[in-house]
Symmetry: C2
Subunit: 245 residues, 2 copies
């Protein structure tokens, strides 16, 4: 109907161009997690497209995990949740069998020049100051994970002012509320190795016992690397399951 003010290559399908336009709003802060999107009809009118075309664009973003649809309520910007993290394959339950978030004991929190392999991951210069932290995650008095965490100091200055009691077991809400850094997604890498002496002591396993090592790089909506962490847990507590075809 009206002239469509859609970004992107005019040779691409309209639904793709609309999807890209909306995706841009999501990766910039224009629309935030939890926001409701305009209705399909409203978007159709705004961009001069048929409702079906708008629907196709929204479906693409839903498939991509950026939006969430609720029949009768609307379409919403999805809050990232890390339900798909590899950690869900650790058999870390309560003694009663319930899933619980392990408590956290901070063993160390300092500022250090970033070693080169960390700096590369965080997209900062070799040796630039970084906040590093060691934590032990504990469930029913049993140590379950040993974590080493690195943050670029420039973005997380405020994190240093927090007292330990202000830092709960979940860090991402703290990054958001205290440092204005919102984690949108992450990449995880899994391997296994023989427990080094310090890790063995922390996890209370034999030296050289097999441990699962999960490295995670967390990123913001604009793809900026925000946090790198390495977590290690007992291999005998870990069973990853998947279906293939």
């Amino acid at each position: 109907m009206t002239a469509t003010a859609l970004a992107g290559d005019a040779r691409l399908p309209l639904y793709q161009r609309l999807a890209e336009t909306l995706r841009y709003d999501l990766t910039q802060g224009t629309r935030r997690p939890g926001d409701r999107m305009p209705s399909e009809n409203a978007l159709a009118a705004e961009y001069g497209l048929a409702p079906g075309t708008v629907r196709q664009a929204l479906s693409a973003l839903v498939d991509d995990g950026l939006l969430e649809r609720f029949h009768g309520r609307g379409t919403f910007v999805r809050r990232p949740s890390f339900d798909r993290s590899l950690f869900r394959f650790f058999r870390f339950r309560d003694s009663s069998g319930e899933w619980r978030i392990p408590e956290s004991r901070i063993l160390k929190r300092t500022v250090e020049p970033a070693p080169s392999h960390i700096a590369r991951q965080l997209g900062i210069k070799d040796g630039e100051p970084a906040i590093t932290m060691s934590r032990l995650r504990i469930l029913s008095d049993a140590p379950v994970l040993a974590e080493e965490i690195w943050l670029p100091k420039a973005r997380f200055e405020a994190f240093l002012d927090l007292s330990e009691s202000e830092i709960g077991p979940l860090l991402y809400p703290v990054y958001d509320s205290r440092c204005g850094q919102l984690v949108a997604r992450a990449e995880e890498t899994l391997t296994a190795e023989a427990a080094r002496p310090e890790i063995a002591r922390l996890l209370r396993v034999d030296r050289n016992a097999p441990v699962i090592v999960i490295d995670r790089l967390a990123k913001g909506f604009d793809d900026t690397p925000l946090e790198w962490r390495r977590s290690q847990g007992r291999a005998d507590q870990f069973h990853y399951h998947t279906e293939i075809r």
Copy 2:
């Protein structure tokens, strides 16, 4: 237009009922991998539906991995491929860096009563006869995987008659051509443990070195369990990578 002869609950959407009808054809042998499906228009005419509705049904099956669409050519029954297997995260390349299928050396091939944990997986009775096989997978003279395989004897009688030279590194084509058993999908479970003495010897690693253990249960189109296997490889060769949000 015409009376639709669609299976399923009449309260469900038409596209779902069509999808279920077609899925049934696929899980039974009516349509086999590689077959071309009737065109969208042909299906629409056959079932008295609008083309868009048929398209929606096919899309569901494509998303499900049962069909494959090719623009201008048609829609085809997908051949299962195990590209998504966890084994792709082993750094098993040739010395030149190319991906190659490891050779296979069969160490043992016998018939034994199925131990209960295997029988449970294969859906046969505890102690029922099963074919079991040990293989060592080798790449450029280096052992990379140790495998233990179990098959229900009733379905795989013909497998016993084969000479070792007739069994290549890839078993599933042999199961199909020689035993009429077509693998459609599989479930894999991954964990890590310390190498037991025999595995350490086969893989030429230290005793108690960490090894990745992948258990796979392969199933037919009708969901019958066909093969159980446990594969073990060096943990230092394994790096699983995934993205989450």
